[in-house]
């Protein structure tokens, strides 16, 4: 009943199929935010409104939220601010993206420690004696619904030299191994993967026990969730232009599982330009100074 009331009130794209009587979970998802902050306040309001509806909400990000050198001024200070924003709106987990690894390991540890949610990656395996700034998986309980969340990352454009102690594993094998190793009975297996949609589809084909795959990296928009057997694959573009919203009937595995699916458009707001200017000038000065020492 809760799900019915919720869907009617928000005007969702899909109607709740007849016979859906199970527990409902709203999954909100983002990917490839890339330090773009102009739309975050709008997105925070959407997330807040969703939580106010009373339905249990799972909020995840599929990676590349903390880094982007294409925006050098924001990159100076933006990662800390982005983590703080994600803490504030209550993210439950985030997958590690290849760009997030572009911070060297010391900085990534700092950011991971700052985050009040787990950073997930199951397919980068460290040598025995080295700790990692990320976990392979986490089990969350949301209003009695237990969900196993796993993260994976693409092999594309990884900064291998900066993490010589990590070994890259095939994402499907890593996820399958992690699911097998999990003793906890769960209602839902959610993979959060920084991989393109087509790669996510192949992973889901190999590991059909995945209920939902939130993908990223390719900045694609899945107009409707891609169905692979009983599993779903979604992605919501990039840069926070929209918030993905998927309402799932947790107790169904057939087509009626999707109670609602839509993208909530966000709005741009002006951002302060001068923030980080001093740090950026420090970087530029240091770079110019060292270039001059070498060249002259």
């Amino acid at each position: 009943m809760l799900a019915v009331g919720f869907i009617v009130s928000t005007g969702a794209l899909f109607a709740l199929p007849n016979g859906a009587t199970g527990r409902t979970l709203t999954v909100l998802y983002t990917n490839d935010l890339h330090l773009r902050r102009a739309r975050l306040e709008s997105m925070a309001a959407l997330i807040e409104a969703e939580r106010a509806s009373g339905t249990p909400v799972l909020l995840v990000d599929a990676g590349d939220a903390w880094h982007d050198f294409r925006r050098p001024l924001t990159a100076v200070w933006g990662a800390d601010a982005m983590v703080d924003w994600m803490n504030r709106v209550g993210y439950d987990a985030m997958a590690l993206g290849n760009h997030d690894l572009y911070w060297m390991s010391d900085r990534l540890f700092e950011l991971s420690d700052r985050a009040r949610f787990p950073l997930l990656c199951a397919n980068l395996e460290p040598t025995a004696e080295v700790a990692t700034p990320f976990a392979r998986s986490v089990v969350l309980t949301l209003d009695g619904i237990r969900a196993l969340l796993l993260g994976v990352v693409t092999s594309e454009h990884l900064p291998y030299p900066d993490y010589p102690w990590l070994r890259y594993l095939d994402p499907a094998e890593a996820i399958a191994r992690e699911i097998d190793a999990s003793d906890d009975p769960v209602d839902l297996v959610v993979a959060i993967g920084h991989v393109p949609v087509d790669r996510a589809v192949r992973i889901v084909e190999a590991v059909p026990t995945i209920d939902l795959f939130v993908s990223g990296h390719s900045h694609e928009v899945t107009i409707e969730p891609v169905r692979v057997g009983e599993s779903l694959v979604v992605q919501t573009g990039a840069f926070g232009q929209r918030l993905g919203r998927l309402v799932l009937d947790v107790d169904r595995a057939d087509e009626g599982r999707i109670a609602a699916s839509e993208f909530l458009e966000t709005e741009r707001a002006p951002t302060a330009f001068d923030r980080g200017l001093f740090q950026f000038l420090a970087v530029a000065s240091c770079l110019i100074a060292t270039v001059l020492v070498v060249v002259r």
Binding site: F69, H99, S105, D106, P161, R167, C286, L287, V294
Partner: protein, 186 residues
């Protein structure tokens, strides 16, 4: 000098490995240190001039000490200090040896590292190198160095046949000829 070098290494040995090492081994000057106090790296190099071995010990997250032995010098100690760390993608390192000082800067752009630097004293030179780690097991190096007003190429390939990059081997061709290096982090 020999006693001081041994003492320095013994003191350094007192640390213990605790965190993540930054790099496997050093075959070209790069603005990076081991970064994990107590960790060591070794490198064995063969060039047209002969061989050399070096042992590097991390004293702090910013400071390494290295002792190099080659056909000409039994002990050549040096210290490598990371002056600027994680200033966005930029690191700046200075290395002080017995008869030379090196300044190196590196921009860490994910799988691509852009480095440039200068050395004063013996083997004075300037260089710029681009490294591209195009897969888990290989890195391509391409660059130029300048000595006494003339430019020479730097071309290299670094391979990591193991499951991680903690050990590797590299072949680098410069105007001085081929330099083969085998090295890794302990």
């Amino acid at each position: 000098m020999k006693r001081a070098s041994i003492l320095l290494l013994l003191l350094a040995w007192a640390g213990c490995a605790s965190a993540a090492p930054h790099v496997a081994f050093f075959d070209v000057p790069e603005a990076i240190v081991l970064g994990d106090p107590g960790r060591s790296s070794v490198a064995l190099a063969v060039t047209t001039d002969g061989w050399s071995t070096s042992i590097t010990r991390s004293l702090s997250s910013r400071l390494d000490v290295t002792v190099t032995t080659n056909a000409q010098t039994l002990f050549a100690p040096s210290a490598r200090l990371l002056v600027v760390r994680d200033l966005l993608p930029l690191n700046v390192m200075t290395e002080i040896g017995v008869e030379r000082i090196t300044l190196a800067s590196t921009l860490f752009l994910g799988p691509v590292h852009v480095g440039f630097g200068r050395r004063w004293g013996t083997s004075a030179s300037r260089w710029g190198i681009v490294q591209h780690a195009f897969c888990q097991t290989a890195t391509l190096l391409l660059g130029l160095d300048e000595r006494f007003g003339s430019l020479g190429p730097i071309l290299g390939l670094r391979l990591h046949p193991g499951s991680t990059r903690l050990w590797g081997l590299s072949a680098i061709v410069t105007r001085d000829g081929l330099r083969l290096t085998l090295g890794g982090t302990l």
